[in-house]
């Protein structure tokens, strides 16, 4: 049972980590579709 809970914890850690990495990687729809004449968050 302990191994199972460790694995579930690992899922949470991997997911949060993946989210942070992907945010930094610049693959959001916003970043991929911005152009010189299209600016968001400004």
């Amino acid at each position: 049972m302990k191994t199972m809970f460790v694995a579930f914890l690992a899922i949470a850690v991997i997911s949060v980590g993946a989210n942070l990495v992907l945010k930094q990687a610049g693959f959001s729809s916003q970043e991929r579709t911005l152009g010189a004449n299209v600016q968001l968050d400004n």
């Binding site: 191994t3 694995a7 579930f8 899922i11 991997i14 997911s15 693959f27 991929r32 152009g35 299209v38």
Partner: protein, 429 residues
């Protein structure tokens, strides 16, 4: 090759649509090439109208009237012709935003995808899961819990090490989360919004998307882990044929001999690997839209191999709009996921309430020796060679082979032990 198979099965699902396009082109001379009453009637009957007569009717700039003449400013294309070009993706569209899909103003295949997703995909996918649950419930009522036939020894054998169980739970935990959030995304509009309202579903949908996108990495990591750890023991063996022929002993008394993984478990393993990889690849395609396009290239390979003519669905389209790549990936992702979910439901059943002693293999990693002897007799013999020798000596009196004969039927009582198992544990409670 895998991608080719993926695309083949997917395209077969559209076989009826594709085959309907092979009819001879009707005579449209009476309307000057425009659609006829026959075309309208076909569409009203829900049949497919071959659209090339429209997609190619996008004007002729070369024969445009002079700019100072009447209609000269149209540049050789009327408004309907211009909009046809927009619809069929041949217009020279410029957009301020970037990205492969930015210049696609009308995506003609979108409605087909939407209809398939809301119709057959949801209906048959949901039906498959409900059918599997009903089947398992009926089987449980018929067979009950599969008990350990012989007397429990109280001794335990280590079946899976901690790292193996970690990989299993990483995969299973992530798969259940992905399955649930995927079902929320697919069925939310139909079932959750009417029940909980838009506000609640909005929160649920945003959360589901976050979980689905990010938990997927744990799934892919775990998939690689279990493949590396278990592939060698899941290579087919001749004992698997006997196991399958006897249906794993599920419907009868006695247990066919099996190695560490029986044929049923091997089928589960390879289903998880093959379908899991397919789901992962299509999922990556969806995670990075327009970056990892699979289907146009696959369709081109299928056309090159002539598979279309063999199965009678003709040539597949080798040029797809960016959205279409995503739509095919989404449909494929969902179809394969439904199949894997149905398989995993059966796996969860047999590993929990369906069989006494099975859960311990992934719970503590230690299984009752008698359980192991009944369900994985060859593996137990391999695990305990000293026991094998004792068995073979006894068997040699009956001119049996030198190697230990596997247990072919569950003993009613545990045989007295002449050699201790590798790991002994306190008697079972």
């Amino acid at each position: 090759m895998l991608r080719a198979m993926i695309a083949l099965i997917l395209t077969l699902s559209f076989l009826s649509t594709a085959s309907a396009q092979s009819a001879d082109a009707p005579d449209r001379s009476a309307t000057g090439g425009a659609q006829t009453v026959e075309d309208i009637m076909l569409r009203q009957r829900g049949e497919v109208v071959e659209n090339s007569f429209r997609s190619s009717a996008t004007g002729d700039p070369d024969s445009a009237a002079g700019i100072s003449n009447q209609l000269g400013t149209l540049g050789g294309a009327s408004d309907p012709e211009l909009w046809r070009a927009v619809r069929f993706g041949s217009a020279d569209t410029k957009a301020s935003n970037n990205g492969p899909a930015a210049a696609v103003l009308i995506q003609d295949g979108g409605m087909s995808w939407l209809k398939f997703r809301a119709g057959p995909l949801a209906t048959y996918g949901g039906g498959l899961l409900m059918g599997m649950i009903a089947l398992l419930a009926a089987f449980f009522m018929y067979r009950g819990r599969i008990k350990i036939d012989g007397e429990k020894t109280g001794r335990k054998i280590t079946r899976f090490k901690a790292i193996e169980r970690f990989g299993h739970w990483l995969l299973s935990g992530s798969f259940i989360l992905l399955g649930l959030t995927g079902l929320i995304s697919l069925f939310g509009r139909k079932f959750l919004i009417p029940t909980f309202g838009h506000e609640t579903f909005s929160f649920l949908a945003v959360g589901s998307k976050w979980v689905h996108n990010n938990v997927s990495w744990a799934f892919m990591l775990a998939l690689a882990m279990i493949f590396v750890m278990w592939v060698a023991e899941n290579i087919p063996h001749r004992s698997d044929i006997n196991w399958l022929r006897k249906g794993g002993g599920i419907f009868s008394k006695g247990h066919p001999p099996a190695k560490k993984f029986n044929a049923g478990q091997k089928l589960i393993f390879w289903s998880v690997i093959v379908l899991g990889v397919s789901i992962s690849v299509s999922g990556l395609s969806l995670l990075f839209p327009f970056e990892l396009n699979m289907f146009a290239a696959t369709f081109a390979k299928i056309n090159a191999m002539g598979i279309g003519s063999v199965f009678g669905f003709g040539e597949l389209r080798e040029v797809l709009a960016p959205h279409e790549e995503m739509q095919y990936a989404q449909l494929w992702h969902a179809v394969v996921s439904f199949v894997l979910m149905a398989i995993i439901l059966a796996h969860i059943y047999i590993g929990s309430i369906g069989m006494e002693g099975a859960y311990d293999a992934m719970g503590s990693g230690e299984v009752e020796e008698q359980w192991a002897r009944e369900h994985h007799s060859i593996w137990v013999e391999e695990m305990m060679p000293e026991k094998s020798i004792a068995s073979s000596q006894a068997a040699s009196a009956q001119a049996a082979p030198v190697t230990a004969a596997p247990v072919t039927a569950a003993p009613k009582k545990a045989a007295p032990k002449k050699a201790a198992p590798k790991k002994a544990a306190p008697p079972a409670k």
